[in-house]
Amino acid sequence: MIIGQQKPIAVVLEMISPYEKIVLAGCHGCVTVCRAGGEKEVEIVASALRLAREATGRPIEIKEVTLERQCDPEYIEVIRPYVHDYQAVLSIACGAGVQFLAEKFPSVVCLPGLDTTFIGVTEQQGVWAERCQACGDCILHLTGGICPVSRCSKSLFNGPCGGTTADGRCEVSKDIPCGWMLIIEKLRSLGMLDSYRRILPMKKWRTSRDGGPRRIVREDLKG
């Protein structure tokens, strides 16, 4: 899922300072699961913003709503009947959600309440970690299901760099396990070390961000 985290409340307060009447829009998708932008967070953020503004003598009216998904047009339509009655929309969905709102409502100011951080997993309750950079050319079948693009700090493709510590940590931080150590250990446990001996060619980054904004068109589904 897409992982996000709330911007500091002071940053959000600065962002909404010109407005007296806003919509605060959450999302029932990924950001609900990572506890950053779901219904509950909408209530908490709205309350905090109202309290902060009232304390400074400039109360703010906040319409609270949580859309099923902010990345799908049909769910965005839910707020169309009233969105133009407000001065801005503060979205606590991922960056895709904020942009899609801005795109669908061109005359409405759309503001980001979250920092979208990575595609990752819930390692345990309250702990999320990156697993994928959406490079567009998956090689997990060769690396024991552990991605060198996202798990190696340098995104190396043929084994570790010289910075791996004796206890298998990354030189970038002792809190990061060396991605290649993880891959090698996993391949060894799977009896697939032959995969490691195979030299991987230079990665074609064209499928990643290097090719510009990406788009998929499925003719069988296109409406």
Binding site: P8, I9, A10, L13, E43, I44, S47, A48, R50, L51, A52, E54, A55, T56, G57
Partner: protein, 101 residues
Amino acid sequence: MILKAFERGADGVMVVGCLEGDCHYLSGNIRAKARVARVKALLDQIGIGGERVAMFNVSAGEGTKFARFATEMVEKVRALGPTKINLARGAKNRSESCPIA
């Protein structure tokens, strides 16, 4: 819910959970403690003051202790005085009841 209490005019909020390690919901009180800590930090960031929220742990059989905690909390909040929200609301009400001609 804690923030809503402040929105509705509370000057302080006391959260009471069961004793740690003795909760019917196993870790409910431990999670509540972490969430109270989050709210305290949030209240600090918005200038209301995290000290206006406190969590206490008592068992169902500790009525005296509960009463002592409640008294302590009330005294603490009285000493802190009204929140900025209530001060602003008070000033607004005063100005609305005595409009300047």
